[in-house]
């Protein structure tokens, strides 16, 4: 029996969560060590798995299918393809970093920090299942189950209004989940009518559902995903959750957990409802562009740092959705690549802001000023993370943003032009934030601010290094993504626009590729 790679990848964090919870309540640090240990273990397993996909070394990773509910035809089906690989890599990498970053965050709370770490591992396990699942029912169950631990993480630890933010987050996503449940059932009914009732994704993709039903199921799924990956009208929960949750929790929420929404769009909605997606694409593109500009403008107008970064995430999610629904190969690859980069850059930004807040004790931008002088390294890291936020070229976020814009330009020119406005606005909000907090005369309150400690460097360094390395060598990741995106778009049955002036023949062979 081959080694069930994928199931172990999910089992590890789940096991970790249980063990962390079992640690006697007095021993806080032991619980943290156990949790981080398991997170690192998952990272190792994840790395081994992705080696097979990135560098085509056969590690024996096979799709796994086990019976779950035979009557429905629901099965524990796991498989890994380009898109989910990128996101699995992101999750597996982000969790140890977030665990390390929140080492002291749950300290002052009356409650024992081990619950916080156990919840983090639970969320990781659920997110991994979501990315790997090839079964719509399993995906739905995990999609809903993820909300509970996140609700507790936001609700138990965090800022003054955390309960309001947690409830708002839960209610918003539950409404989405409801719509999706209806759609999942509708889908099942379709599969029953068509002969073999099953939730297995490839079977469901093979179904040809008539357009009107497709529209209804499309709306069901899209509402849930549009809320999860905040698209414009459904976004008000993210800024509250980001502002109230602890910085590393907010990082994990918007960096990794929300990616399930955009993953759902590209891996489920496009192949399952090709006609509806094609017809609805212009509407979604408009919404995406609106959330790009809206998110950016609001980010500029914010006074609370974490809320500002929350809004920047909305703008970035706008880019991702734009990339997905531009329905061109380039844009879709760019969007998936964007998900990974946005994950890294948002986690870096949130974590660094977390350091600032833990030092100064306040989230308001005006309470800072001139941090550059007492803590140059912190300012430098903040600038680097900020630059990754505004997609400066050598960093990886630039390539993904460029691919999305150029991919969208192929099909929706006005949308791409307005979206490009986003890069100017992103420069504005990041640099204005940097200027108000870091430069200028040193504020008395900021005087004795200590610089980065080793733990903090250990947290941020891998992220920034990764942003740089992936920025210079994006090819392995983008190739893996491109392989998976191609068939999805073929599935949607949309023709890729050809260049208008094909390459002239007489280009001499001199310019070897």
């Amino acid at each position: 029996m081959t080694f069930p790679w994928l199931t172990t990848l999910i089992a590890l964090p789940a096991l970790g969560a249980v063990l962390t919870a079992l640690v006697p309540s007095g021993r806080g640090t032991l619980a943290k060590q156990v949790a981080t240990g398991f997170a690192l273990l998952t990272l190792v397993v994840g790395a081994l798995i992705s080696v097979q996909y990135l560098f085509d070394v056969d590690m024996g990773v096979k799709p796994e299918t086990y019976e779950w509910i035979p009557e429905f035809g629901a099965s524990w089906a796991l498989d890994l393809h380009g898109i989910s690989l990128a996101l699995v890599a992101l999750t597996v990498l982000a969790t140890p970093i977030v665990a390390l970053a929140m080492w002291h965050e749950a300290e002052d709370e009356k409650r024992d920090p081990k619950a916080f770490f156990a919840l983090l591992l639970v969320v990781e396990a659920l997110t991994l299942t979501a990315f790997l699942s090839q079964d719509v029912l399993l995906f739905y169950v995990v999609f809903e189950a993820m909300l509970i631990p996140l609700y507790f993480m936001i609700g138990m630890y965090g800022g003054p209004q955390r309960r309001y933010a947690a409830v708002k987050f839960l209610l918003y996503n539950l409404v989405g989940g409801l719509a999706m449940l209806a759609a999942v059932i509708g889908l099942y009914v379709e599969s029953v009518n068509s002969g073999n009732p099953s939730f297995y994704l490839p079977d469901l993709i093979a179904l040809d559902i008539d357009t009107t039903t497709q529209w209804w199921l499309f709306i069901g799924f899209m509402l849930a995903f549009a809320i999860k990956a905040p698209l414009w009208p459904f976004h008000t929960w993210l800024p509250d959750a980001a502002a109230e949750a602890t910085p590393s929790n907010a990082a994990f929420l918007s960096g990794v957990a929300d990616k399930v929404g955009t993953y759902g769009m590209i891996a489920l909605v496009l192949p399952l409802f090709p006609d509806a997606s094609r017809e609805a694409a212009p509407v979604i593109v408009v919404l995406a562009v609106v959330s790009i500009i809206y998110g950016a403008l609001l980010a500029i107008g914010q006074t609370d740092m974490k809320r500002l970064i929350g809004y920047t995430s909305i703008s970035h999610f706008g880019f991702i959705v734009l990339g997905i629904f531009a329905l061109t190969d380039q844009a879709a690859t760019g969007a998936t690549f964007y998900m990974v980069n946005h994950g890294l850059s948002t986690i870096a930004l949130f974590v660094v802001v977390g350091f600032l807040i833990s030092r100064r004790g306040s989230r308001q931008v005006d309470d800072f000023g001139g941090v550059q002088k007492p803590a140059p390294k912190l300012a430098g890291v903040f600038l680097f993370a900020g630059l990754s936020g505004l997609a400066l070229p050598p960093l990886s976020t630039f390539l993904s943003e460029f691919l999305v814009i150029s991919g969208t330009f192929l099909r929706y020119r006005p949308a791409a032009i307005i979206a490009t406005l986003g890069i100017v606005l992103s420069a504005l909000y990041i640099l204005w934030l940097y200027q108000r907090t870091m430069t200028g005369p040193v504020r008395p309150a900021v005087e004795g601010m200590p610089d980065l400690r080793t733990r903090e460097v250990a947290v941020v360094a891998p992220l920034l290094a990764l942003l740089l390395v992936v920025g210079f060598f994006p090819k392995p990741l983008t190739d893996a993504i491109d392989e998976a995106v191609g068939p999805t778009l073929v599935e949607v049955g949309v023709d890729q626009p050809e260049p208008l002036a094909p390459v002239a023949e007489h280009v001499e062979e001199g310019t070897g590729r």
Binding site: T236, Q372, P393, A416, Q435, Q496
Partner: protein, 652 residues
Amino acid sequence: MTSTLSALATAVATEGGHGGGQVATAATGVFDLTWLLIAFPLLGAAILLLGGRRTDKVGHLIGCAASIASFVMGVVLFFAMVGEPSDGRAFTVQLWEYVNAGGYSVDVSLLLDQLSISFVLLITGVGSLIHIYSIGYMEHDERRRRFFGYLNLFVAAMLLLVLASDYLILFIGWEGVGLASYLLIGFWQHKDSASVAAKKAFVVNRVGDMGMVLAMASMITVFGSTAFDVVFASAEGASTGWLTVIGLFLLLGACGKSAQFPLQSWLLDAMEGPTPVSALIHAATMVTAGVYLIVRSSAIYDLAPDARTAVVVVGAITLLMGAIIGCAKDDIKKALAGSTMSQIGYMVLAAGLGPAGYAFAIFHLLTHGFFKANMFLGAGSVMHGMHDEVNMRRYGGLRILMPATFLTFAMGYLAIIGIPPFAGYFSKDKIIEAAFADNWITGLATLIGAGITAFYMTRLMLMTFFGNRRWKQSEPPHESPPVMTGPLWVLGALSVVGGFGLLYVGAGIVDWLAPVTGEAHHDLPMPLWLLITITLATVVVGVAIAWAMYGRRAVREDVPAGNPLTVAARNDLYGDAFNEAVFMRPGQYLTRSLVYFENRGVDGAVVGTATAVGGLSARLRRLQTGFVRSYAVTMLGGVGVVVLAMLLVRLP
């Protein structure tokens, strides 16, 4: 040395007609090491920035070493290229494949040809001189190591920009340069004005970058790739409409980076940065990136005449604006910045004239690099002596106290106003000739520009070095240390011989660039000698006026009222005011109202539904009175309804 000259001479005769068709061959031998050009400064920057405290003492030396190493490599490559036959001087160095997404593939590869090697020499040459200069200038700044790190970062990014063989890789260098200028302008971050100026520079550059991104996106739409060879080769196949669009977008990018007309507001504020920064970035190299872009995309502009006319128009406008602003500025660096803006206007105008003007644009660019850097460094040493006083109304009579600075500055001054033996005369005259050949208006614009340039440069010279002493500090200003005056002498010498050297030594710049940019002989509307005398006459008139106003009469300490034009010029011809009124204030208003709309509207709607449900349930609660008898009434009503329902449903 002579053998290379003869080789140059033989190569002169052949080439003519439309350029850009030159095909680059795979690099072999020494050319394969082109990537070292970028690697040295990048390595230097990495060591300095990541090195931390340990590299403080020796930081500046590492910086200079990296820059000089790169310059030496550049010279080696130059002479190796000269050795090559004139039609086979373009080489590509394939490094690694950057990305291949859905049919659009990009390789990280470098293109070394005549155009890029001349830029490499300018960047690394002037760069190294400025590195040496800043050892002295930044001596007592405790963050000097970081300064040299940023300088190296800038040089590396600029080299990547000029050596890239794909617009995307060029764009990486493009934004890298933008980042370096942000860091360097805002180097003295404790000064609020510096960080605001840095942010402004970056954001305005970013607006230009928007144009670049859209240009590349349209290239992908039209050609399916952004590589130079693919784009230039299949340029004929594309529709002129698309080419014009690409041309205009590229122009927008160039304006952003080279501070041309619509996006020029950031250059004058960029003077907040240390003077070597202004010299290197905002005079010699970065601001010329726009010109490089236009010249490099000559294939596109040749097929898009309206785009080219736009370039000329933008060049002309900036030329005049820069000159007028230069006249009214009392701050020496701002005056020089104004003159930079107008000189780049010249280059852009020349680049807009098509094959006739490309070579002259680059020629003027190189000479301008020499004398403008020279003058900026001169101004730096003046400020160094005057304890960082920038207002020229506090100077006066410095020629005796700072002879070296005065002499080198004078060389630069004579070069820029275009006195025959000096560099400026050759390069600017060629542009004026090309402009007149093109049409009367541009010719006239360049002529007037030359006149005004003479006026404000003379004004600057008189206020700084001649006239009564107006400075008040205790001990008199001392001459700068040799480490600073050395580069000044070298640059001074270059601004003297640079013009003649580049034009006539060997085949001359025009033929050197011909394979890249092509060459077109233009017929003048009037005999050449007449045109030259007219230009010289306008220059002399400009000098005379300036001397009349500032030479004879004593320079006033207080700022005179001045007519509306000078007031306008003092406010950068209301460029900033316009940006604020049209973009800044409405933008802030928009963000505030959006924040309000977000809290009330979208969020309000969500919270509103919650409170509505609460209100409804409060009202329903009152229905339950607690009295058994009112419940009995509802029960009876219920019975009635059930009976009615059963009746209606008519259960079988």
